[in-house]
Amino acid sequence: MKYQIIFICLLLVDGLYGQSLSGDVLIKNGTVLTITNGIKENTDVLIQNGKIKSIGEGLSAGDNVRVIDADGMYVMPGIIDAHSHAGIDVVNEASAPNTAEVFVGDAINPYSVSIYRALAGGVSVSHAMHGSANAIGGQCETMKHHYGEEDPETYKMVGAPRTIKFALGENPMRVHGEGNGIQPKSRMGIEQVFRKAFSEAQEYQKAWKTYKSGGTRVAPKLDLRKQTLVDIINGEIIIHCHSYRADEILMLMNVLKDYGVDKICFQHVNEGFKVAPELAAFGAHASVFADWWAYKFEVYYSTAYNAAILTRNNVITSINSDSGELIRHLYHEAGKTQKYGDLTDNEALRLITLHPAIQLGIDERVGSLEVGKDGDVAIFNKHPLSIYAVAQYTLVDGLVRFDINEDPADVRLDVNPDEKIPAFHEIDAHDHHRCMEGVFEELFSHH
């Protein structure tokens, strides 16, 4: 059908962009933290056409290839943030409890200085997410931080699986129940939003199957929202669900079981540690904060040991920022798991490299330094888990997108002509919790 062709075209068109963005670099003599193959001292990493060509000693490259002297430095995979809102203009389409059809990737803002600041903290990939205003939010975008490019399409990571935002608990209840007088107002209501959406999607899929097999002659009314839910049931979209309380986490897993969906990563999941065995048994992943708590009642009974407990119970766990401020020092956030739970160096580093890659379905491309993977690299002057570490270079697809020796003061790409000098902001709401942006302020009285 025509609309299917359009969607295929969408993917093809996506494929046309981003292929030209790649570079060649030779990183020499660093301590290479491969994540999957141990630590290699005095080792080189050669990146060619944006891919890691080889890792070893005494490598060489052509004359025109940039050489980075990493002597005394630590070379690790580019950090991946599984929960971010940096670089997008719109966070919440908060007008309905289910807005599965919208794409946050339609609102990429390559002029966002937050992306550069994230690069300055070693982050090469982020998962730009829809906010948590709706039980079923919009589809998210896994982005490569190609800061400097002005075409939003270049940020989209070609080939990355589709992902979608779900949200449980206080936020959707506050926005729709309290704020707008429509379901859901309680956790009971939230469960029914999912059941209704999935069941209606099954009906929708049936109707289209009947039409396509010639059973009816008129196509059913096109509904992109329902189509997206169908795609979730068919396993084409990974769910990333904002959640806190143990009971609601269990609720969603039970709902998903009923509809045959198993690709899920719980986000924040502050009480995940209380149901770690269940999460592991389901195969669900968890993306958590290092130590945020007490800002809402549903996180009042949480612990900074969350990541450690989940890891010890064999749940694939990552640490995310959900903040334009925290994204800049995810390496420090990961370090906190050594204090709260004694994770080893490699376990802690996995939380910001391989594990978020797995959760986003991109672990064949990024998340560790292995031959064939993308040339996404972060180079620090000290071990990244030390508080004294400062990022020196951040590479994305072999292009040096952050170089501390060439860090200009004013990195803006687009300047407002009516503003003489950039305004001073007493407080910057982009610091924390953009998850509720776009919804009436009085509903979310956090800081």
Binding site: Y300, I309, G324, G335, I427, E441
Partner: protein, 444 residues
């Protein structure tokens, strides 16, 4: 999958033994409440650790805690009836001080009735933060297990939102916790944008700020007049007119006997604030000071101390360098300004050593950064005879760690506040103990 089951089985077997012991030991602890084990009074001899005194250098020595104080520091101290704690290979630090928090005033951020840091009114300096501190706030044990032993708790809101107080993080009543220092808080009229959604034009912002400054000067005129009348009425044994609590709260500030903590951030506003302070001959501390690095020389020249933070914040202008907020404290210190650091939080005050760590990394250096969360604030608040360093005679606010407290992998091993040995337990650790190996596990 099988290997995981095997690991689980092994863990389970081993865990049975451990959990039995833990269960036995923790019978008195109710893991579902915020209660933690009681602190222990007594004398303690910290033997053979490396003392980072802050005031007198770093060296290996013994430290004796007795009668709530650091009784003595020296080599091979006799133990007497003190409990000996072997600190070989460990480090002893003075308890850390956070110079700006709402710890104990707020419990759950989004539930407004659990927050007591902000009251209605613009000129209400008589609102005492100390009164509203909840000594049983869940966040207090969470904070102190990371080595923070004292904190300024401050109100927020309008121009004069109230009076802040310095507390030690141990005690069952606010009075027990009070650490002997108070300051009146003031928010200086700002010419910056209030936030991302502030859509006022530049002219409107300037108009609002000019109006606010005019009101401030008028208020100050009244404050000075009231102080004059008060002095006169005391001297002449005359009675004053009426009940005026807000003005009463300003008397000591007007007389220069109590600090005014002035929150101000934008460079031009800092300049105006410095002028206002010097013109009115006030005893003030500037807080916030996000753009302090732009006029550090002027601040140093004026001799006004500064409390700044959080260090880990986003630069306030789109055109600022990415690390300018990290580097701010260090730049001011280098110019000769007396600097203390704050987290400005209520629930994650425990991150104070990491705030200092970032300041250290981006130019301040470890020594100065440590001083900014120990002796410098103690000096600023005039309580450096009590806390802020390891010196004989000071209050025993001390912790023992296995390394540099700025590093995340460092563990705090022992904690003392006012000579009490405080258990390193909090809601977070108790939940860890309960759920690391949950029993029953998954129902098969």
């Amino acid at each position: 999958m099988n290997s995981i089951n095997k690991i689980k089985e092994n863990m389970r077997n081993g865990a049975y033994i451990i959990s039995a012991i833990v269960l036995f030991l923790s019978l008195s602890i109710s893991v579902h409440s915020q209660r933690v084990a009681k602190s222990e009074a007594g004398s303690f001899l910290l033997k053979g650790g490396t003392l980072v005194t802050v005031s007198d250098g770093t060296f290996q020595s013994d430290l004796l805690i007795k009668d709530g104080k650091i009784a003595s520091i020296g080599e091979a101290l006799p133990a007497g009836d003190a409990t000996v704690i072997d600190c070989t290979g460990k480090f002893v630090y003075p308890g850390l001080i956070d110079s700006g928090t709402s710890l104990g005033l707020r419990e759950v951020g989004s539930v407004s009735l659990t927050s007591d840091h902000s009251e209605i009114g613009d000129f209400i300096p008589h609102m005492e933060a100390l009164t509203a501190v909840n000594p049983n706030a869940v966040a207090i044990p969470v904070t102190r297990v990371n080595g923070i032993t004292s904190a300024i708790v401050k109100p927020s809101g309008g121009t004069f939102p109230g009076t802040a107080a310095l507390i030690n993080l141990h005690g069952y009543t606010p009075q027990q916790m009070f650490a002997g220092y108070k300051a009146v808080i003031m928010n200086f009229p700002s010419t910056g944008k209030r936030g991302w959604r502030d859509s006022r034009s530049e002219e409107d912002i300037k108009k609002d700020a000019d109006k606010a400054l005019k009101n401030l000067n008028e208020t100050w005129r009244k404050v000075k007049l009231y102080a004059k009348i008060d002095s006169a009425s005391v001297a002449g044994r005359k009675s004053k007119d009426g009940y005026n609590p807000s003005m009463d709260a300003m008397l000591e500030v007007a007389r220069g006997n109590r600090h005014l903590m002035i929150e101000v951030n934008k460079k031009v506003d800092i300049e105006s604030a410095i002028k206002w302070v010097t013109d009115n001959k006030l005893n003030a501390i500037l807080t916030g000071v996000k753009e302090g690095y732009r006029i550090a020389d002027k601040i140093a020249e004026a001799g006004i101390p500064v409390i700044t933070g959080p260090v880990m914040s986003i630069p306030s202008r789109q055109s600022d360098k990415y690390d300018i907020a990290y580097a701010n404290a260090g730049k001011m210190r280098a110019a000769g300004v007396k600097v203390a650091l704050r987290t400005d939080k209520y629930e994650n005050v425990r991150n104070l050593p990491y705030e200092a760590g970032f300041a250290a990394t981006y130019g301040m250096g470890t020594d100065e950064a440590l001083r900014a969360i120990t002796l410098s604030p103690a000096e600023m608040f005039g309580v450096d005879d009590q806390i802020g360093s390891l010196s004989a005679g000071k209050l025993a606010n001390v912790f023992v760690s296995d390394g540099d407290p700025f590093e995340t992998r460092t563990d705090i091993l022992h904690l003392f506040i006012g000579g009490w040995k405080v258990p390193l337990e909090s809601r977070h650790t108790l939940l860890y103990e309960e759920f690391l190996e949950r029993d029953p596990g998954v129902k098969e």
